[in-house]
């Protein structure tokens, strides 16, 4: 965990309001696993009190760069989207525990399910899984065809299925519809996306091996402020908790209430 003024190497809009930004700096050498995130200050000064938690999509250790994909929705992410190559941006990270692939074995079938801006960290994860000799099938959910991004990137890694809410691309509906429709089976299931999607998956596959990455509004991003807690499934006293920033954001299926 370091704080660094990272240099913007590239930034482009890859779908409406969805940006891909590439940052250069020492921080890259600290990243240990896909699913870790950065805490980004949108601008200097007191204009933004809180940093923005954004997942690392993938790193390129050789040239010390990492890529983040995010939706420019609110004031802070909009400000980040205005950065141009050569600008610097204050980044704190890498934070949290990423996806562990240690128990995956060669030949395993891994299903990766992502929704919207939950998709980016799954790209780095897919690369790690393939390195282990396992195979990857991906299901990605978007609002509509115009919102689709990183299709080619995931297609290059194995079978890819897409769902859109309006059916303008792939299956009409949500990711669980695709899984059912295609009769997809798996040894491991990894997911990241909006809570309703994760809840639907968790309902169907709470016993699955693999993991899920969660989101919550954050203060410190390191476990000190208790802003981002969630309830563990196993909680006899009713006061148990997990901190999404530091115990997560990645949790095993069935570990926490989504």
């Amino acid at each position: 965990m370091i704080k660094e003024n990272m240099r913007v190497e590239a930034q482009r809009e890859i779908a409406p309001a969805i940006y891909e930004i590439t940052l250069f700096g020492e921080l890259v050498t600290h990243v240990s696993a896909p699913g870790q995130f950065l805490h980004i200050k949108p601008a200097p000064g007191t204009e933004f009190t809180l940093r923005r938690p954004l997942s690392i999509s993938h790193v390129n250790e050789a040239d010390k760069t990492l890529t983040v994909i995010y939706r420019a929705d609110g004031q802070g992410t909009k400000r980040i989207s205005e950065k141009r190559p050569g600008d610097v941006i204050n980044v704190f990270g890498p934070l949290g525990n990423g996806f562990s692939t240690s128990s995956i074995q060669s030949g395993d079938q891994v299903l990766i399910v992502g929704g919207g801006v939950g998709i980016p960290p799954l790209y780095g994860l897919a690369k790690d899984i393939l390195k282990k000799g396992a195979s990857v099938t991906t299901v990605l959910g978007f609002a509509d065809a115009s919102a689709v991004f990183y299709k080619d990137v995931f297609e290059a890694q194995g079978p890819l299925f897409i769902s859109t809410m309006d059916g303008s691309e792939g299956t009409k509906g949500v990711v669980t519809d695709v899984i059912r429709e295609q009769g997809l089976s798996f040894d491991y299931l990894y997911a990241c996306g909006p809570n309703p999607m994760l809840r639907a998956l968790n309902k169907d596959y709470s016993e699955a091996r693999g993991a899920v990455s969660l989101e919550e509004r954050m203060g410190c991003g390191i476990g000190a402020c208790f802003a981002c807690v969630c309830h563990p499934v196993d909680d006899p006293t009713g006061t148990g908790y997990r901190k999404i920033c530091s115990d997560g954001p990645v949790f095993n299926w069935g570990e926490v209430i989504i």
Binding site: R51, R217, G219, I222, G223, A224, C225, S246
Partner: protein
């Protein structure tokens, strides 16, 4: 000679900067970022008699130059706090600890103060009388001078270390509360806690925070903190730990000029996780440049000017 040292009741601080309660947990996380011995003191997270989960999430929201929080005093309860957290801190660091004590009833507060006194590891107590929900029909201890007096008196009676009382800014007249707790035997004041605030999500019309209402902190509230410290400083010589939006070196100087004897950094730890050590370095450098021999000289400098 250490120009930045301040000696407050129970708190021999090598510099007058400490993280504010609730913004630093019990130190473990920030210990990964820098040496906690660098800090003048540490105000640890509010501790209650029983373990508490606190409020549901979302618990924080951003506002203009500030933030709202409604953590709800989450903590593992006094037994675990002493056994696991305070022990961890005191066995590794020399930095004096200011233990923030919270509760719903006077008996709760007394129980925590008694337990921490017995455990004998923290340097001072910070009585958090700004919790909105207490059994006395919704009147918080921090807003009624009589209740503030009684609670302070009772906790002071069984405390083995100096007692700071943390004042709420959500009052018509903060001097009245300061006077009451001073009469009841408080050894110092911490001010200010957060202001009650709220943010609605304009997409849904619902409060952003699950708890609806939260506490406003950060630079936005600094002018209110400065005014209250300045005002209370006119009537008492009790040491004041000042807080409320402190983010820059200038803010620290402003708080000292207003009458604070030390400052606590809350929200700024989130905006910049290295805020405390960076500010301590800047403050040391500034004190040396100015040729001041003690932070108290800042105020003397002002008085000489006026």
């Amino acid at each position: 000679m250490n120009r930045t040292a301040v000696n407050l009741p129970g708190l021999p601080m090598k510099n007058p900067v400490m993280p504010a309660s609730g913004c630093f947990g019990f130190g473990r996380e920030f210990a990964k970022l820098y040496d906690l011995n660098k800090l003048g003191a540490i105000a640890i997270k509010a501790t209650t008699r029983e373990s508490r989960f606190g409020n549901e999430t979302p618990r924080v929201a951003e506002t203009s130059a500030g933030m709202l929080n409604a953590i709800g005093l989450q903590n593992p309860g006094m037994e675990k706090v002493t056994a696991e957290e305070i022990d961890w801190l005191t066995s590794r660091y020399e930095t004096p600890l200011l233990a923030n004590i919270a509760g719903s009833t006077m008996e709760d507060y007394e129980a925590v103060a008694a337990h921490l006194s017995e455990n004998n590891k923290v340097s001072a107590f910070e009585l958090n009388i700004s919790c909105p929900n207490v059994k006395e029909g919704g009147i918080a201890f921090g807003t009624d001078p009589k209740l503030a007096y009684e609670l302070t008196k009772r906790v002071k009676a069984l405390s083995t270390v100096p007692l700071y009382v943390k004042l709420s800014p959500n009052v018509t007249n903060i001097r009245e509360i300061a006077e009451a707790v001073e009469k009841a035997g408080a050894d110092g004041l911490s001010m200010i806690n957060t202001l009650s605030g709220m943010k609605l999500d304009v997409k849904t019309g619902r409060p952003v925070l699950a708890n609806q209402i939260g506490g406003l902190s950060g630079p936005a509230i600094k002018p209110i903190a400065v005014k209250m410290i300045y005002e209370v400083r006119q009537q008492t010589n009790l040491p004041i730990i000042g807080m409320g939006g402190v983010t820059t070196l200038e803010d620290i100087i402003e708080f000292f000029m207003a009458g604070a004897d030390a400052v606590a950094i809350g929200t700024a730890n989130f905006t910049n996780p290295f805020a405390c050590p960076e500010l301590i370095d800047e403050f040391e450098e500034w004190m040396e440049q100015k040729g001041y021999n003690s932070p108290a000289d800042i105020r003397k400098g002002v008085e000489a000017l006026s």
